[in-house]
Amino acid sequence: MLRFLPGLLFILLSSFTFAQGVLVKGRVASATEPNGLPGVNVVVKGTSVGTITDINGEYSLEAPLGSVLAFSFVGYVTQEFTFNGQTAVNITLAEESTELTEVIVTGYSSVQKRDITGVVSSIKGDAVRDQSINGIDQALQGQAPGVQVVQSSGTPGGGVAVRIRGSTSINASNRPLYIIDGVPIQVGALSQRDFGGQDDNALALINPGDVESYQILSDASAKAMYGSRAANGVVIITTKRGKQKKAAITFDVQRGMVDIVKKLDLLNSTQLLELQREAVRNAGKNPDGLGLIPGVTDAVNTNWQDAVLRTGIMQQYQMSASGGDDVTTYYISGSYRDEEGVQLNNRFQRLAGVLNLDRKLSSKLSIGTNLNLSHTVNKRIKGDNFLDGVYSGAVKSLPYYTPYDENGRIVGPSSSLYPGFPNFNPVGQALLPRFDALTTKLLGNVNARYQISNELFLRAQAGIDYNEVLEDQYESTQTAIGGVLESVGGKGYGVYSTTNLGSFIVNATLNYNKAIGDKHHFSGLLGTEMIRQTSRTSSVQGRIFPSDDFTYIGSAGIVDQGSSFKAQNGLFSVFGEVKYDYLDRYLLTAGMRADGSSRFGPGNRFGYFPSVSAGWRISEEGFFKESSVSNVINDLKLRSSFGFTGNERIGNFQFLGTWAASTYNGSAGVSPQKVGNPDLKWEATREVNVGFDLAMLENRIQVTANAYYNKTTDMLYNRPYPTTTGFAGQTDNIAEMRNKGLELGITSVNIDKRLKWTTTVNLSKNMNKILFLADSIPVYTGYQANGVDGTNVLQVGQPIGTFTGLRFLGVDPGTGDAIYDDVNKDGKITNADAVVIGNAQPKLIGGITNKLSYGRFDLSVFFQFSLGNKILNFSKETFVNAGQDIQNNQSVAALRRWQKPGDITDVPRYELGNTFNNLHSSRFLEDGSYLRLKNVSIGYNLPSRVTDRLKMERVRIFAAATNLWTYTKYTGADPEVSTLDGSTTAQGIDFFTLPQVRTLSVGLNATLK
């Protein structure tokens, strides 16, 4: 009891002295808020007496003489002032210059950056504000080491492949786990109908403008609390919340033009006709007999790329209000984005609204909610691996045909000018169908926090991520499906489908914090969580419509395909974490999550994912502080972590052998669906990480470096079976793979005067290798290709994304035929001669951002690069097809073809019907390295005399551009490309994929006074 006496006395004393306080007034300001900073906490140190500044930054309270006033505010260095009876105490708070004290949300808890022992990269939402990005996944591009982001195409609202530290899985998803305000959200495509590689993207439903920060959790320690879902990394997204200050109303407006980065160089009618005639002659046939007649066939010369592409308009508007007092804070935002695709009729619109509210009900209990509602209208376009796609159709179509007839009508199947299969009229394919996808997302949670004692609080949360997609489609009689392909449509084809994807999450955590003396700090976390996902889908199709004036299924003559389905899965988990540090010098974290998943059989239902990590802040050691090194190095921390994460994202009920409904001759029955695998278990990744964080030269240079070695075992994959078993395969744990790599992030404040110049560099190198495959047999994946088993292969000793094919040795100058390497020396070129010809994994990727500000001007320049990756230019198998068929336009590369003995070239002889010269080979593989000026923006803050007159607090105008410039040797339209939405086993393939777009925009950010 005695040892508490001084404390008690102190409290008594302060209460006593308070009674004798003197009135003190003043104003708190900062460099950016010179007219007053609202919401600043002002307390008489050592007492509970305090207040906060009002909207003008002013405060008043009574304080005893000689007491210490503490001024604190999030993001600012706390300042103390000894009060000696001054009537006015004006304070200017300095913004925190170091990032070390920044609070990082790492899932169920938060931690100061300097105390982190895991690998967490943090991106501020504002850092990507000027980029006209569509979805939150694009914000990660080039901003953090270890994160590879490839946008699949230039389609607005389209797929984006994000990989954190490479791919850990070959079958289960490789997408990171995204958590928004504590709720895991749906990723990938939501819609049902395949658009030939042009998927939609669930992440495009969130407005990046509402995001406060992104935290990317990369190593086992940082991800430990996400256990079975964490192997691919975790992206924690926190939306903006109100602060304790006066209401701030902001407007953001951006508007610009969207163009394709590059068009392909293809042949014109005359060049193509000459080439085709040569191909026909080489096949011993008469080109005139096939109707290839100079002056007639090439009388029309249509540039189909020009015909289907346009300059689109991109515009987005956002208004938000935020603020609060000491009990309630709020953030309310509404935004609208409208982006026209570069393909005719392609458009993406999004309306999004956010309401974030927090309220303290008592000194112990606080509640809050995050509510995010959004709705998108996506006018979609078919593409890639679709004959009736728009861009894919345009680049393949023969220039001999015309999109419009002499009356200006779109040429359709009823016109004699219609090219017919396989060259449909791509302009008609763009303009005539209705492919509307209307998606609504409701993402929200309610949470409560109860402070049980000073050391312990309980937090409980219930959240929902509900997505609903309506696909409203009609393909008219003048389109391929609706008019030409009778086996599907015939006379109009309508589809109407709905998809409901809901996930419900409820969790509770106990958080404990305890300091023993000044030296020992403990914190702990214990939690439990339940997640349920349910999906319901339905679809109905109708055919044979009276005319194109009737486009809904109620008018269809035949309604023959209808379906509905429900699927569900669940996860039940318990997790905990303990952190300890001694004098901020020795840091230790241990965590564990146990997950039970409905996706595994009774024997393997639970998975356990432990991790440990340790940090040593050398810069806190006495010897370090005494040495002269400490003059240069301000902070140095060594880190190391080890742990397990998992992956459970496979289909439901894979462990059961099942039969599904089938029909025959109008009767219903059952057919085998899949063979069961009761031994199916979790995919586990063992992760080791070592690294250091360094701050030097008065924190002006900050370096973070990591090395990791991750080994995934029991990888889930569809193990191929010979069909003599009755099945093509079975989901099984069949492989082992490792990713090892290095990551480096450097932030340097180069100049910090009136001119401020900051450079951020991040570099990542990931090396992936398959260590083991059951049965030791290669598994072929990707696309089917001429004469080989697949474009890609999974093979021991090779990384995933490995390309396979024949080795192309050149063109025989004597015969003009392709020469392939007869690897097995059997005198024949067969699929057995296929070898590994390269892989899609880059040797190094990175981003460099330079930010400059001078007075009222700011400039940001962001370069991104990829080095050493190969791209399979699969389109070339059509564009430079050596005459295999004469139904597709050819690239200008075909002009280099072999024509007569003695020609030295890399393009084989053209001969109609010859598949040998067009076998799948290294002829189609190219270096995909590139350096791209991804984003550049320049801004100007209007001077206060202007803003004052406008009754504005602040007005910034800016101009921004994306994909302005690219250096690459890749001959396709765009090296930043990936059809199949970057599918794990078939990444880096260009298959008539729409290139990226270039956006030029101007905008305005304004804050109301």
Binding site: L290, G291, L292, L365, G420, P422, A448, L458, V484, L485, E486, S487, V488, T528, M530, R543, I558, D560, G570, L571, F572, G596, S598, R605, N652, L656, G657, T658, W659, A660, A661, S662, T663, Y664, N665, A668, G669, S671, P672, G676, P720, Y721, P722, T723, T724, T725, G726, A728, Q730, D775, Q784, N786, G787, V788, D789, N831, D885, I886, Q887, G913
Partner: protein, 455 residues
């Protein structure tokens, strides 16, 4: 108050979690049945029977591609590599049509084996139903092995549903496979109804038709004739007055067994088995010029309606002709024939001719003329046996074009080399059987190094 609310919170969440745990982790499978309950009681039998036919019907379109595109009746006209390889006679073991036929056959065999293993142990199934479904399983399995033997030669003989056994299973001689097929057919004799509910289902005479074809291929002429005569004399089937019914309708009067597709399960745009898609929509395969000439001849008569012409299609390599035998689902013409009476007459004609019963009453000549008359084509008069063999070869082309017979006919009669070399300079004798799909060799250790010669 505050302590109690904390307790309330904790208790509530705990209660929620514990009760939710079981529901969350063990949701009931939706709209699927597990292996152990799919065939347990009498009511399950018709469902699994449907499953057998649902698998079996895909054999029919896959056989059409094999029988006609490998031979000289179809040429490629589209973008699919598999048809380019078939059309230009550059077939590889990676060909998707090859693996489609193989897997259709073995997936059907799996269901047949499943029934044959489990049905005898299901109590309470009426004898007639049990015999019928057992008979159907034997018949279907026998037919699959028959097609396997003539498409691929020696193949794995799969007789169980054991995944472990069937993952690593070598090839069995073709003779043994055919003996096994005959044993299956024999086991089915008398088990199935003489008159099934529809010719979408096999009955006694579908089985006897299969036996007639089996003995024709095996050159057991007398047996072939006997079974063919049984089918013809059953009077269950009659030749439609118009040949065009065969082209444009499902279930013509002469149908003995067909793979049935309805609006809801039509293969639609399937690039491997959607015959309307392949022949009419995409026109990946179109009739070859020799096929057009033959079908347009006087001897072919009405059977010219098996193909049709559109000038709009005439360009480049495209001769403008399309296969007419496979319509869309709504045209009621999307079934694919396994057996029809026309073929049975041709089997008997050939069996009779081989037994030197060439002309006169009840001879090869009478059988051929039955078909000629129906096709409104000139009847044949007295000819020699050699001439008759050529007539039968042609007649089979006219009558059965695009029904998957041509390649098998040319190979079994030893005519493939002569006919095919004249058709394509790329033809090699190795094409008398298809390659074992590369995928099978890669995934079945017992097949490694055991490809058909030349591939």
């Amino acid at each position: 108050m505050k302590k109690s609310s904390a307790i309330f919170f904790t208790t509530l969440s705990l209660a929620l979690f514990v009760s939710g745990c079981k529901d969350t982790l063990e949701p009931k499978p939706i709209d699927i049945l597990t292996d152990d309950v799919v065939l347990n009681e009498p009511a399950d039998v018709p469902n699994v029977e449907i499953g057998l036919y649902s698998a079996f019907r895909t054999v029919a379109p896959a056989t059409v591609i094999a029988g006609d595109a490998t031979a000289d009746l179809l040429i490629n006209n589209g973008t699919f590599t598999q048809y380019q390889e078939l059309g230009t006679k550059q077939i590889t073991s990676a060909n998707a049509s090859v693996s489609t036929l193989w897997s259709a056959l073995y997936e059907t065999i799996y269901v047949a084996n499943f029934i044959l293993e489990r049905l005898p142990n299901v109590d309470g199934v009426p004898t007639a139903l049990r015999n019928q479904v057992m008979g159907e399983a034997h018949f279907v399995r026998g037919y699959c092995y028959f097609i396997l033997a003539y498409s691929f030669g020696a193949v794995p003989l799969v007789t169980t549903t054991s995944i472990e056994t069937n993952r690593n299973i070598g090839r069995t001689d073709r003779e043994e496979i055919l003996d096994f097929a005959l044993a299956d057919y024999t086991a089915a004799l008398g088990q199935m109804p003489a008159k099934p509910t529809s010719t979408a289902f096999a009955g006694e005479y579908a089985l006897q038709s299969a036996l007639a074809r089996f003995h024709l291929y095996r050159e057991n002429w007398a047996d072939a004739e006997t079974y063919a005569t049984n089918v013809i004399n059953s009077k269950q089937y009659s030749l439609d007055t118009l040949f065009s019914y065969v082209v444009t309708k499902d279930f013509p009067a002469e149908s003995i067994l067909e793979g049935a597709y309805t609006l809801t399960d039509d293969p639609g745009t399937d690039g491997n088995i959607g015959l309307n898609n392949i022949f009419v929509s995409r026109r990946e395969l179109i009739p070859s010029n020799p096929a057009v000439v033959a079908l347009a001849s006087d001897e072919s008569g009405d059977r010219f309606s098996s193909i049709r012409f559109s000038a709009d299609n005439l360009k480049g390599n495209d001769n403008g002709w399309s296969v007419a035998k496979f319509g869309t689902a709504d045209q009621d013409n999307n079934n694919v024939m396994f057996f029809r009476l026309g073929e049975i007459y041709l089997i008997r004609a050939e069996a009779r001719a081989q037994q030197n019963n060439v002309t006169g009453d009840n001879s090869a000549q009478t059988d051929i003329n039955v078909l000629r008359k129906r096709a409104k084509a000139p009847t044949i008069s007295a000819v020699t046996k050699t001439q008759m063999m050529q007539i039968i070869e042609n007649e089979r082309l006219y009558e059965l074009a695009f029904e998957g017979h041509r390649w098998f006919d040319l190979v079994r009669t030893g005519r493939a080399s002569a006919v095919m070399s004249a058709f394509s300079t790329n033809w090699q004798d190795k094409y008398e059987v298809w390659p074992v799909p590369q995928r099978e060799i890669q995934n079945n250790p017992a097949l490694v190094g055991n490809q058909n010669p030349g591939y």
